[in-house]
Symmetry: D4
Subunit: 254 residues, 8 copies
């Protein structure tokens, strides 16, 4: 409900094209669908640039399927993250042509109107410090794909053998945004952000053990980076990093 | 030292325009100045788009002045953050026409070649939840100014009276990037990121008490936001939020 | 054992209606039943307004059944929370007409004298930020029902799409008490408490991941709310929030 | 801006008593005053039942005085908490007949229309475990007074000599709401909540040392109480406990 | 190897009753048995008053059985704590007449010379706050029994209905030492230590949820008790509490 | 108020030696003195074996002096701990013949009836790991002295040169109770408790830096000791360790 | 790529023995093999003295096998740590003559050129506090073996019976480096480092319970040791302790 | 007291060259000096290779001076760390020719027999990430000097401009041991340990702010490094890092 809508509804009322009751109804109109246990936000694509995504963790398979079907009935693209085996089984049974990626733990079904974004600054780069961080990096890449942004993954370029990273200098410098994925001590984003000028998003993972505190160590390391221009998302939050990168990569016409 | 340089040095060597010794020297050339206790990174402006900044906390006044003078002798803009009273006094005495902002705790002296950036996506918006968060918001604004980006502050728009925020709908929707500053429970960035499509940077502050843990609560709240596209910087890190925002706001030509 | 009892026992003694031994016995009389491993507090309904509830976590199925049967033999309503599958199976086998709710993880059997409270301020509102918070919200609702208070749940009204909450303005403003349930960053109670004048109880949930710390983040966010009049209960403690809400909703005659 | 207002504005427009521009202006009207660094929420009394309070910590004396004067010019009661010596000096100089309490660290100036609430359930009881907790208890009492609720303090009734508490049985049972203030191990609220049926608000204090973690221990102890019906506020948050108690103590007419 | 031994060995040497080599051997004599992976401390009974106990957690069933058999071959009593199902099965198969308690998770086999201690101050009392704390209380009781001290358990006497505790006043005041077992907010030991003069040992349990932090909350509450004379052992450490209580309960002849 | 009192009061009533009103009064008689801000527990000496002690931290000098004077007027010994310079100055001015120890931060004034305990098991030993731990060890020794128990301090016997401890073998083995004081890694109590059979109380101190967490490290180390029979008090709590040691050292006649 | 290589490549270029393109290629040559998901660092043996090791935790069995085979095809020794049952099964099936140790959770296959190091300072000693720490100690020993260093384990020499350690004085004093492994309170490394002059590496384990925090307690205890010369590795990091010990034990020729 | 001493004392006794009493005295001889509050460990130089050092934090100036004088009277070198202004003033007044370094916060006075070590592997390298880390690096260097080891500092070579480090390749590769000092995110030791083969000691500093947790972040980052062979000391522990480096740098003759 933006300012133009407001002007237009009030003008209609002033011109008596609509009644006071209709104006009240318009002004209180619900931009979401109420399933009882969930209120699907069908206007999110307008507001954020991409549809509401189903965060499947802590939802029952039944709830996930119901939300997905409601979105499909509005012709929307469906995309679910953090999928358990049970949820995936239920989704595969309920939705005929659903696609999924078991490593990234996501499923999706593109709407008919789905297409890649046309106005982007370029290609997003995802650097993963170790092989064990790949699952989180893949969640980011799958999410970018659904939102319509192209991306590329450089895997196993962590700081214990830093020459592996710097041999890809040109790829680093060509990126429009970089998502730097790291567990353990989380040093990779600092090194990258000290080297490039594009925005860098630190994505800590829970890969580690002992005093690693399930990812708190790389999270804090990234937040305390001595390299400027680095911002950070939650541990293992490939989805959030992708949304932020897509937002940065979108050409804005102001 | 980029790829073109490498090609060019090696070609000179191949053509015997330079000796092996000169090639070695070029390939090992130091893009920084060694003060003994500090190695000033004069190439940072090329690499990152803005000069090295003096983080004054934990440095002695003598060290700060020496670094500032070395930068000035290279014709660089000088900018210092987290300035104590002692450092500020030393800087004011040592540098004739230095400028400063006591609320933001920064000082600066623009070089002759300083100018605002010409290719930006628009104006950066800084939203501060409470009056007590202003000092951190001001550090962000001063930093943006030095880096060459225009910004505007909306103060006291926290969630305890959320109508104060939504009455500025148009300003929110016109921004190219938003820095959302909040202490206490840190809910403001979530509400903003749920509302706009541009990138939002959460900037937690240490304003609070008791179980606030000196800013850890708003930091964690922002990292766990249910709104997508939000990234976060360290507590009270106005400088870092500004660098990230400037990086996002810069038009890239790829 | 209140003051009137004391007066009355002592008067009986003074009048030699009872012996010293009987007075001692009365004054030391046990208002509970001793099962050896448990001492059932049969006076709790008098003291607190509702009977002792069986917190089943960390109890063996045998212990739960024994306590339930002891309560039933006193004609009391039985109500158990945090029921595991094993406990539920044992209870269903041991108690003929027991009722239960698998999502809320509770079972109950109303006594013959059970009835809804007659003197309440109105209807209690339970707002749940996300679908995944429903299980905790349901524990609160079931508890309120057993204690005799009517309630209503608004689900999926979190701050990532805050218009979904404000479209229920009137329901919010009609409530006598509101329980605001939220995981993730826990911002919902702040927004509600900034909007209404009735008491608001923040109920954090363990829904989240990474730096969420199993619910510590929304717990701390609620404790540090910039909205006044908000109080908080333990993570996932739907039972406690319901007891507090019922206590507030009870009309007191002083 | 409630539903009746909306109806009334739209009817005026329909009847052309006001223009479209006027309707837009009304619908976007600001219920707050913009001081630049602060946006004073003059509608808060309507929304919450008491005026906006000045949380003075982290504000400059100049900011506090400016906010206080703006409130006074609207005929509102002024009330500031967490006052430092500097803020108090500035306030005493700037506001002629200001009152203050140095132990509770608050100042106030009642408006002409100030009066005690007329519809309350009764008297609020504040129980403080130790003498050292009195400062926080006093912040609660002063706040209640300004909001218009009567209260009484029982001091030094902690669990190390629990007979001191139980000798006040009748006072406990007569209260409409109890605020239980405790530092150290924070056991007092549990004992009280196990004894009375009225709502109990746990108010942890930072009184303690060593592994006390500046109040985190009593805070967590209260959140994990085995007594039902207990809710909790932030450490040392006498103001918040008072607001919650006042909200509970207000007779609602639904 | 005490002082008398030293005198005696050296005198023998001085008198040439033993050779230098024998003296060296005596002075370096190993008061333990080396199994390779374990060095059994057969002198512990002399030093501490009770034999070495097998802490079974993190040991393989084979290791537990081997240690138990080595102790039996020295005629020692065998006692194992924190027994998993696998360890218990292995022990039952390997040791003919072993006894065990599944709730307390311990097994034992008394040596022929085992007997109750003769010189004790009296009977040790174990108070458990809730039924769910019984398993830990039982570990303490079984340990005391093996060490030769009589004890008694009072169960379900937590602070949510504190009259259940005080109805056992005489038992409390007759105890020579009290072990106070509590999970949740851990208030019971404070209340008891404020009431009795004998030593009180706080034994926190992991019974709780949410912000309970697996027992850290009652542990910290007990450490911060406002009641003096209370000491504390690790979470769920019934064994340690029993050893400390036995040590206190032993009559010392100095 | 013990059982004999109860019998006696009720018998008097039965015999009409006292009226019902008098019986009520007796049964509700206050065993403490109410100063308004403090309720002095004059019965504590009966209940605990030593008088109420003034914990001076977080109390104003005026409050400390008032409590001390009230105790003196009852002929009680006065003892204050954690004394700041301001409190000590106020106490020295207000109480003519007060004594104090600046290292231990305590003051005291013995009552006329004060005397050393007559029935103790022996002498208490205090072992301090480093010179820096002496202040806390002294608080324990001064407290023991006031309570009437003799003690001896062994200083600087930490594990970095463990031969310094073992050269005092006989003193260790003669002690009736040992208080083991240690900062840094807190290993001393483990080593001692593995060596002696008397009760050992671990007293962690805040001496350390960096990851020492202000004493949490030695506190946790002691709680996790592999030596049995060790109990622990709060960080820097010399007073508490002394009370526990005195309680253990008292000969009980049962 | 060291300095000599640089000189040599540039001389070849100067002498036109190689072209500019070849020089560029040489200077950018990749010292690793790219498997897509992993970039194997074949130069690590040159740089670090031992080949890249496969940290198997968080890798799929397929990834582990593929990396192992790639290393074998370069004639390198293969060594994997933190092996799950699934990974071990896959490795045993895929690699004919692989060896493994189930307690240490490692597998290995020596290359043909594998041999023990020839220039070492001596034998490395591994002291394990308890039997339950053996698994971690074994990971260290197996790693040392693969890297080519001899070692010896002393098991069950913890501080609860410290005479078991000191009876091995000579072994302690003969070691070139000591790895001290301990869970619980982690006191063993302090005691050893206070006794010997060779470097001591503290290796904390997760053996413990309750407030042990999964190994954080011994980790912090070791970091805060009052014995000098002690350094520490991550919890359960037998591999890292072995690498550090091997590095210290290697004779350097400078 | 080593094995040869034992043989020799016992032989003397056997030969009746000494009496039993003398043998007892020898066997119990104290290798330290007892000042009452301190027991100076004069044998430490024999045991550890360097004399006991005075950790001045938490000691009174009087205690520091007394310990220093006792050491001087034994002809030992005196060295104090973590010196406050008060301690330094007292030391300067009491010890005529004391030397000190205010940045490193240490003082020293070499004994007449002091000399540099003769058998070392080479020169120790200290790399400091930022200028603000210099104070801690200097404590390490001064300590090494006193212990007799040469060292060199490379300052301001942190990862935000990693070319500054790699331009010193040869210095890195020539070092016998490297101490890597870093605050902020603590990434420098990982990068160095991934590059060199000599032992690397990570030394975290408290330089940082916000979620830096006073140095816990770089401490944890170093412990979780993906580079092998890195060990770590406590935050700001320049002394400990130096002791460990010296121990590693000493040529051992076995």
């Amino acid at each position: 409900m933006d300012n133009n809508n407001l002007q237009s509804i009030l003008s209609s009322l002033y011109n008596k094209d609509i009644s006071v009751e209709q104006a009240v109804a318009h002004l209180k109109d619900l931009p979401y669908q109420d399933l009882g246990f969930a209120k699907i936000d069908h206007h999110r694509a307008l507001r954020k640039g991409y549809p509401e995504v189903i965060f499947c963790q802590s939802k029952t398979p039944q709830q996930v399927v119901a939300i997905a079907k409601a979105q499909m009935s509005h012709g929307e693209t469906v995309y679910g993250t953090r999928v358990s085996d049970q949820v995936l089984a239920a989704v595969k049974e309920a939705i005929a042509d659903v696609e999924y990626d078991e490593l990234a733990r996501v499923f999706w079904r593109r709407s008919e109107s789905w297409k890649m974004c046309e106005n982007t600054h370029g290609r997003i780069l995802i650097c993963a410090a170790g092989t064990a961080d790949l699952s989180v990096a893949m969640e980011a890449q799958r999410t970018l794909e659904i939102i319509g942004h192209e991306s590329r993954i450089l895997s196993d370029v962590g700081v214990s053998g830093i020459h592996r990273l710097f041999s890809h200098r040109e790829i680093l410098q060509d990126a429009s945004v970089i998502i730097a994925v790291a567990g353990m001590e989380g040093a990779l984003p600092s090194v990258i952000a000290g080297y490039v000028s594009c925005p860098v998003i630190g994505l800590p993972t829970s890969v580690g053990y002992g005093s690693h505190l399930n990812g708190m160590v790389p999270l804090f390391a990234m937040l305390n980076s001595c390299a400027s221009g680095l911002t950070v998302v939650n541990i293992d939050n490939g989805f959030g990093a992708a949304c932020a990168a897509a937002s940065i990569n979108s050409v804005r016409i102001i």
